[in-house]
């Protein structure tokens, strides 16, 4: 597969990456200058790893002046949690964890009837409660507009009302690079500095900057089973139903969300460069390949976002 790709694409002359990087740094610096209590959502996924890398660049050599926040679904890949801890230790940044397990335990939210259910929707109240407790006024997220069509419509500075809701019909115009950070008490701003990056841009940047990622992003041998045409990983929260056969495959993950709704793709790519080569030839989008949660409805993402989701 790799040798079919034109090598000039791989050794990309990376002017466009530099421009995207500068745009992201500009946005992050505006937030640091204008908001009193920012925080950065860090899932341990590749987009948030790039976002954290950019945030550190924006203010270096000063240390990160705000915490990173992880909403732990309890359905994470163990490799992702290990990566999160590794990064936090290495960089000496402050970590704040909002735990879905804990929220279920205290009765703050009610868990779904089955353990196999996705916890995507359950994350939203935990995220909003974590933002409220931290009194964060601006929350960085690693969402990209190329991921999904509701996201294609969202501003870089995206206002949330006091209930954490997004109102897509009533977004502020966003002109030039003049961002309006004005909010009332109780509201907060979600800020998406990598809005204009595509999956391929992210991977090229990871390759160029040698950004560390969880191992599950690269091809490895794993026990999986097929469901609805997707390869799901066998884990303590995800077991095959009767008739679904466990097989060992070389796979990698294109996103690393809730294990119950994140599928693997067959792959031999063990380096960022090999992932880029595969990404250039794939015909399936990132979310289409791997996110069971977005397949439920035409407007699944728009509905979740309105409630306050990432």
């Amino acid at each position: 597969m790799t040798n079919q790709v034109n090598s000039t694409l791989l050794v990309s002359e990376s002017k466009h990456l530099r421009d995207l990087e500068s745009e992201s740094l500009h946005i992050i610096r505006e937030v640091i200058a204008e908001f009193d209590r920012p925080a950065l959502l860090f899932s341990g996924g590749k987009d948030s790893a790039v976002l954290l890398h950019l945030a550190l660049k924006a203010i270096r050599p000063a240390p990160l002046p705000f915490p990173v926040v992880h909403i732990d679904t309890g359905h994470n890949f163990p490799e992702v949690i290990a990566f999160r801890n590794r990064v936090v230790d290495k960089l000496g940044v402050e970590l704040v964890v909002g735990s879905v397990d804990e929220a279920i335990g205290t009765g703050f939210i009610r868990g779904p009837a089955t353990e196999n259910g996705s916890r995507n929707r359950l994350q939203t109240p935990v995220l909003l409660e974590t933002i409220r407790r931290g009194r964060y006024t601006a929350v960085f997220g690693g969402a990209r507009r190329d991921e999904e069509r509701a996201r294609a419509k969202e501003r870089i500075y995206s206002l949330r009302d006091e209930f954490g809701q997004w109102d897509p019909r009533n977004q502020r115009p966003e002109l030039w690079n003049l961002y309006n950070g004005s909010i009332d008490p109780g509201q907060h701003m979600r800020v998406f500095p990598i809005s204009n990056w595509t999956e391929l841009d992210i991977w090229r940047y990871i390759a160029e900057e040698e950004i560390d990622l969880p191992e599950v992003y690269y091809a490895h041998d794993r026990a999986v089973f097929e469901r609805d045409g997707m390869l799901m990983a066998v884990s303590n929260v995800m077991q095959p139903a009767p008739g679904e056969e466990i097989v060992h495959r070389n796979v990698r993950f294109r996103t690393v969300g809730d294990m119950t709704s994140t599928a693997a793709v067959a792959s031999e790519a063990r380096t960022p460069e090999a992932v880029i080569a595969e990404t250039l030839t794939t015909r399936i989008s990132e979310r289409g390949a791997t996110r069971a949660d977005d397949r439920t409805a035409d407007a699944a993402m728009e509905d979740r976002k309105r409630e306050g989701y990432f």
Partner: protein, 421 residues
């Protein structure tokens, strides 16, 4: 590979969505599952053809009503260039969204239905593109298949549009006869129109110069904030963080901060990829200076030989964007210009422009939603400015409502690019 920002406007029936769909499809930027989802949705709507508007209209309300309401951003790339396409609605009630999409674009794609000629909507888009300072206009004369690929139809529309572009002071517009539905002159040249000897659209998009002229302008870098780590190993560190918006910053060159007027020498420049000898737009940098100055956010780092004007009163073209209020003389708004914020008071509405007639109306007492006029503002703080027609970054500002925090207006300093009379 470099990066080009393109804005387009239009509604479902003029073929905008089909054109975008064609660009994405023929440049192989659509994945199979996305195409399958659109096919599926088209079937459910009992549409006879692949409804590419379903691809571009992202919100539930837009799909239900069959119109584009808000700006959507699309991404595609070819081996030479990455494109960011701001896809905006064309209806008059969404003019503000058209302005938003145009504010960051270097190229405007203006779509004309060959059957209808130059109608209101394509005129409005051309006017907005010119006002917002877009240097490259590409006029796509679409649906040529429905007029028998007739050269005379194309030339008549081109000649009519040329008159408009001269009036709007837009240089060297490009005209392309196309059929987005059948793919003529979008990505591939057309075999149906051998009389057209120009390039297809994508070829133009790949070769339009990027950041043209910005490096030749005087140096401007709004200071975002001052990095002072307070760490033992960086005890005396002080860096001025900001993005260069025009000109070239060279290590060792004399600089002046405006409006304070303090001077120094750039002793070091850190780009995101490490220390550099020179940097230019749009690089986000950290600048070190020789002297210990009291400057911070809101100052504009400039070359000493070509300074911006320092003003406390400003005349600007203002596009009103708020649907809950109107702009009137005496109103006070927060203003954000580069990284500086202050208050501004409307001291006069000099002219209200008609985008339809290209005439100016003297003595208007307000600007309502989507209306554009020449307005004078008195400022609570000095601003270091350039005219918008010279510098889009130091010539632009936004107004924010003190009551609702909404962004209520886009402002472009100085006279418009063409005269309304």
């Amino acid at each position: 590979m470099d990066l080009l920002r393109v804005a387009t406007a239009g509604s479902v029936d003029d073929g905008k969505s089909t054109l975008i769909g064609r660009l994405l499809y023929d440049s192989k930027s659509l994945s199979d599952d996305v195409i399958a989802a659109v096919e599926d949705a088209s079937r459910r709507q009992q549409s006879d053809y692949l409804n590419l508007a379903l691809l571009t209209d992202g919100l539930r309300a837009e799909r239900e009503q069959g119109i584009t309401i808000d700006v959507a951003y699309r991404y595609f790339s070819t081996p030479v260039r990455k494109f960011i396409l701001a896809d905006t609605p064309g209806h008059i009630q969404y003019t503000r969204n058209m302005v938003t999409g145009a504010s960051t674009a270097e190229v405007a794609l203006i779509i004309v239905d060959a059957r209808n000629g130059v109608v209101e909507q394509s005129r409005r888009h051309a006017v907005i593109a010119s006002l917002l300072g877009i240097n490259h206009a590409i006029i796509c004369i679409n649906k040529m298949d429905l007029v028998g690929y007739d050269r005379n139809v194309f030339e008549a529309i081109r000649d009519e549009f040329t008159q408009l572009m001269i009036k709007l002071n837009v240089q060297n517009p490009i005209y392309i006869p196309m059929s987005a539905l059948h793919g003529d002159n979008v990505v591939e040249p057309s075999t149906n129109m051998p009389w057209y000897d120009g390039e297809p659209l994508l070829r133009h998009l790949e070769t339009v110069p990027v950041h043209e002229g910005v490096n030749a302008l005087p140096l401007r870098m709004p200071v975002q904030y001052v990095i002072r780590p307070h760490l033992k190993e960086h005890h005396d560190y002080r860096g001025y963080a900001g993005s260069i918006v025009s000109g070239v910053l060279r290590k060792g060159s004399r600089i002046r901060f405006m409006p304070s007027g303090q001077e120094s020498v750039a002793s070091g420049i850190d780009a995101p990829w490490g220390p550099v000898e020179e940097a230019m737009a749009p690089d986000a940098v950290t600048v070190h200076i020789k002297d210990d100055l009291d400057v911070g956010r809101g100052e504009l780092l400039c070359s000493i030989d070509d300074l911006p004007r320092t003003v406390q009163t400003v005349s600007a073209v203002v596009c009103w964007m708020d649907d809950r209020s109107v702009l009137r003389e005496g109103d006070v708004y927060r203003i954000k210009h580069a990284t500086r914020t202050g208050k501004s008071k409307v001291t006069g509405i000099d002219t209200r422009f008609s985008i339809e007639s290209l005439k100016g109306e003297i003595g208007a007492d307000s600007l309502g939603l989507n209306e554009i006029g020449q307005v004078t503002l008195k400022l609570s703080t000095s601003l270091a400015i350039d005219d918008y027609t010279l510098n889009r970054s130091t010539g632009s500002f936004i107004l924010v409502s003190e009551a609702t925090n909404a962004t209520v207006a886009a402002g472009m300093i100085g006279p418009p690019r063409f005269s309304f009379q």
